[in-house]
């Protein structure tokens, strides 16, 4: 693990400017070429309540927001009341001592009360207390003031020189106050310039869409997926992407299917409740064999649930979406960068197989923000549209065009409407090869059977289109941590922590859920004496799904379903507990009161 690993937390009420402090810090770190990851534990409330942003930076890639806090910035009394108890010796707590009383301070925690009234360069500007705190935090973290100056100048320049001056002065005052009273955290701060891009998972999904050639994006706002819509709305017009807000999620998916049928790559995103409304449309896309990509950014359910909290609770909803049997693709990106990468990948699969494809991500990585390797952003993606006919041959040479032609691999050449020679009807009813319905007058059990099998055969070639999961760590470790989707980072870090504690483990993270590389997975798991499945839900949705495909039963389970993400120590504690063999389920308790 890296030498330099700094964790800062900022807490306060919604509307107090927490995100802006976080953005400044992230920008400063990322500009230095450090890796950053930020996670905001917030509430479904516009003003007030409690928001708690964790930002972690390191010279190694940061994959989780970690277990501990080095510097806690409290913007209100509530924050210090909730979080001070969790600080360990050597860490700092920063707050406005005119307004906030620290109460009982854990041993060794350094209390950095700032006399904000005295330090603020303009008493009427309430936000200066945030700037002062940022200055102090930066000193304590071992940085110098220059990058903060740059950042504030950039941020406030359009508000005029006075505002810039009062912010710079206040930042300096906070920085100086800290310097006069404390010594900063030990350790050299690496300099890895040039800087790194900072992005949220939602923005990465949207940008991945742009890279994949999405030309039609439509959505209905729903947390935590709304960010994709906002990015698309901001950038679509310049990029030639039509972006439409629709009246509901049923309209969203059916509109996207209409656009996809016309020949564009169409995408939409929602969360679990919106996805529920889309399920009928998923079956429609399957029956008409229209490729379409639907993103479900999971939040804590059931029902409206906890809209601003994370969970991996929708896997079975995706597996079972819509009536009947049909091919579907489900992929769960494993981190922010993967959100970008996955979209062009899945569009190619969807286009080749002509079926609905679903991206299953969650609030943790979609609303999480972090640095990514700029090499991730590839703009010359291979776009493979499969057997798509987009130009007219005047009239189709070899006999009549059969939209649903029965082929060995189940894939039938797909012509877009408007071409001479390829007239056909795409119907939600069962149809014959020539797209004539066999649901009415022409029902025919043999044809029906053949069409079901034709569609089903498409899945046979699906596995070859996607990579099998790869084990991290030694195959002989004896213990495998098995996760899926967004938990990759936390499991990777937990494994490192376990190894540091003398517990050998390897780690397998599943990204492609359907099709599942069952044989490859079993080949890996069969080498382990113990397998623990870790997931962010109550019922073990992945464990149950894996079992349905492979009969595999894990030796232990770590499950968390309180709305907050798993932290590395939850996994470490869980693994140690499970290794005792007294129980097969470990449910961590979330210590941080957010």
């Amino acid at each position: 693990m890296s030498q330099f690993d700094l964790k800062i937390a900022i807490g306060g009420a919604a509307g107090q400017g927490i995100a802006s402090v976080g953005n400044i810090l992230a920008w400063i770190f990322a500009r230095r070429g450090l890796h950053v990851l930020a996670y905001n534990a917030y509430q479904s409330i516009i003003r007030g309540g409690h928001t708690y942003l964790t930002i972690r930076t390191s010279d190694d890639p940061v994959t989780t927001h970690g277990d501990t806090v080095d510097i806690l910035i409290c913007l209100n009394q509530d924050t210090i009341d909730r979080h001070l108890v969790n600080l360990r010796a050597g860490s700092f707590v920063i707050f406005d001592e005119d307004k906030i009383k620290p109460g009982d301070v854990p041993d060794g925690v350094q209390v950095c009360g700032l006399p904000v009234k005295d330090l603020a360069k303009n008493p009427t500007n309430k936000r200066l207390s945030n700037t002062i705190a940022t200055g102090a935090a930066l000193y304590l973290a071992g940085f110098d003031i220059d990058p903060l100056v740059d950042s504030l100048e950039k941020q406030f320049s359009r508000k005029g020189p006075e505002v810039v001056a009062e912010n710079l002065g206040s930042a300096q005052a906070g920085f100086d106050f800290a310097r006069e009273h404390f010594s900063p955290l030990a350790g050299e701060i690496p300099d890895k310039r040039p800087g790194l891009p900072v992005i949220s998972g939602n923005d990465a999904l949207a940008m991945g869409g742009a890279a994949a050639g999405v030309k039609f994006y439509c959505a209905y706002p729903m947390s935590p997926a709304t960010g994709v819509l906002h990015w698309m709305a901001r950038n679509g017009p310049d990029l030639g992407i039509v972006v439409r807000q629709v009246e509901d999620e049923i309209g969203v998916i059916t509109m996207a299917i209409g656009a996809a049928h016309a020949g564009v790559r169409a995408m939409c995103a929602t969360s679990g409740g919106g996805f529920a409304l889309m399920t009928e449309g998923i079956g429609f896309a399957a029956m008409t064999e229209t490729p379409i990509v639907v993103i479900n950014v999971q939040r804590a359910g059931p029902s409206t649930g906890v809209p601003t909290k994370t969970e991996q609770g929708d896997l079975w909803q995706m597996l079972g979406a819509s009536q009947g049997d049909f091919p579907r693709i489900i992929v769960a990106p494993t981190d922010i960068a993967d959100c970008f990468t996955t979209i062009p990948e899945i569009f190619n699969v969807a286009d080749k197989l002509q079926c609905p494809a679903m991206v299953l991500t969650d609030l943790l990585i979609s609303e999480g923000t972090g640095t990514v390797d700029p090499g991730v952003f590839k703009w010359d993606q291979k776009i493979d549209r499969g057997e798509l006919i987009t130009t007219s041959n005047g009239s189709n040479g070899d006999g009549p065009y059969l939209r649903y032609k029965i082929t060995d691999n189940g894939i039938s050449p797909r012509a877009i409407p408007g071409l001479d020679g390829y007239i056909h009807v795409a119907a939600s009813d069962e149809q014959d090869e020539n797209s004539i319905l066999i649901s009415d007058e022409f029902t025919n059990p043999l044809k029906r059977q053949a069409m079901v099998e034709k569609r089903g055969r498409k899945m046979a070639s699906a596995k070859a289109m996607i990579p099998a999961p790869q084990l991290e760590g030694s195959p002989d470790a004896g213990l495998t941590l098995l996760g899926w989707g967004s938990t990759k980072g936390v499991l990777r870090e937990a494994r490192a922590l376990l190894e540091a504690d003398g517990v050998a483990a390897n780690h397998l993270q599943i990204k492609w859920m359907v099709p599942l590389h069952d044989e490859e997975i079993m080949a890996i798991l069969s080498k382990s004496k113990k397998v623990f499945i870790i997931e962010n839900n109550y019922s073990g949705q992945f464990a149950r799904y894996l079992r349905s495909e492979t009969s595999f039963m894990a030796d232990g389970h770590i499950r968390k379903y309180d709305g907050e993400p798993l932290q590395p120590h939850h996994v470490v504690d869980g693994v140690k507990e499970l290794l005792k063999g007294e129980s097969t389920l470990y449910v961590p308790t979330h210590e941080i009161m957010v």
Partner: protein
């Protein structure tokens, strides 16, 4: 898509739109008249079959795309309008005709209809309004009159019927008409005007269900319908249009063009990406590395 000018084209007749199978509607069903008028109108407008797409929901009436030789999409119950919107925006060179029933469009699908009218998507929506659910063998529809006895309301319908024309006129539709499948000539004229209108056109059609609706039959309408154009109605007069939309009596049930607003642009003419350039579906995919780099630069 080869650009063929109308001049070079072979003459197109209704026969060119002859579908691959004969309709399986009950003999005498009003929907036959709608299908025939549609084929004739498309031919009259000189459309080639591949330039047209008919989109429908689910219902007897929604089976129409299977009975006509054009591109077609036979969607889900109540969802023809958003599907057609996606199609039209993705390829605004297509002539988009949506066909369906009163249950499909005014019942389960009415939310989409309301919003599509606000958006002025360029398409013609033909609703074969038989005041009943035909395909599911005769239940109350949103346009069934109070007191009508159906399988789902043997004691008589209690709900006030929905007035599609009033809803459309007050809801911002830019072209609103009503035809009757027993008046094929006027019906054809209305379809033509609706397709030529640039924006959302709602054409409600009395299309009797001879099997399940024993109240609103051919004779019922024959005796009552009065053509608006015979009575000096001015379709640009919004108030008069609304007045006519509420006219329903044994003496007069108006049919014809109720309302037209030629001033509002269609959605694809105002949408930032579509207002310049050809159909989206024919544009090159992806974005340039330069555009991409600019997006990444913004993140630094």
């Amino acid at each position: 898509m080869a650009a063929v000018t109308t001049a070079e084209r072979p003459t197109i007749t209704a026969k060119d739109f002859q579908g691959p199978v004969d309709p399986d509607w009950c003999p005498g069903c009003g929907d036959f008249g709608v299908l025939n008028s549609l084929k004739k109108t498309l031919a009259e407008l000189g459309k080639a079959p591949h330039e047209v797409i008919t989109v429908s929901g689910i219902g007897c009436s929604s089976n129409l795309p299977g009975f006509i030789h054009t591109y077609g999409m036979h969607t889900l119950h109540g969802r023809s309008i958003p599907v057609a919107t996606g199609l039209q925006l993705a390829n605004h060179d297509l002539t988009v005709v949506v066909t369906g029933g009163d249950g499909d469009g005014y019942g389960i699908g009415v939310g989409h209809l309301i919003h599509a009218m606000r958006r002025n998507v360029n398409l013609l929506y033909i609703v074969m309004n038989n005041e009943i659910y035909g395909l599911t063998t005769g239940q109350t529809s949103p346009t069934s009159l109070i007191g009508m006895q159906t399988k789902s309301n043997p004691e008589g319908n209690l709900d006030m019927p929905l007035n599609p024309l009033a809803m459309a006129i007050s809801g911002g539709a830019t072209w609103v008409g009503r035809g009757f499948s027993g008046e094929p000539k006027q019906l054809g004229q209305l379809m033509k005007a609706g397709m030529e209108h640039n924006g959302f056109s709602l054409l409600d059609v009395f299309s009797p269900c001879v099997t399940y609706n024993k109240d609103q039959t051919y004779p019922f309408f024959k005796e009552r319908v009065k053509k608006l154009e015979d009575n000096g109605h001015d379709p640009s007069d919004w108030r008069q249009a609304l007045e006519k939309a509420f006219t329903w009596s044994d003496e007069e049930i108006p049919i014809g063009l109720f309302f037209e607003n030629r001033d509002r642009p269609a959605l694809h003419e105002t949408e930032p990406v579509l207002r310049k350039g050809g159909p989206l579906a024919l544009r090159p995919l992806g974005i340039s590395p330069k555009q991409g780099q600019a997006l990444v630069d913004k993140l630094m």
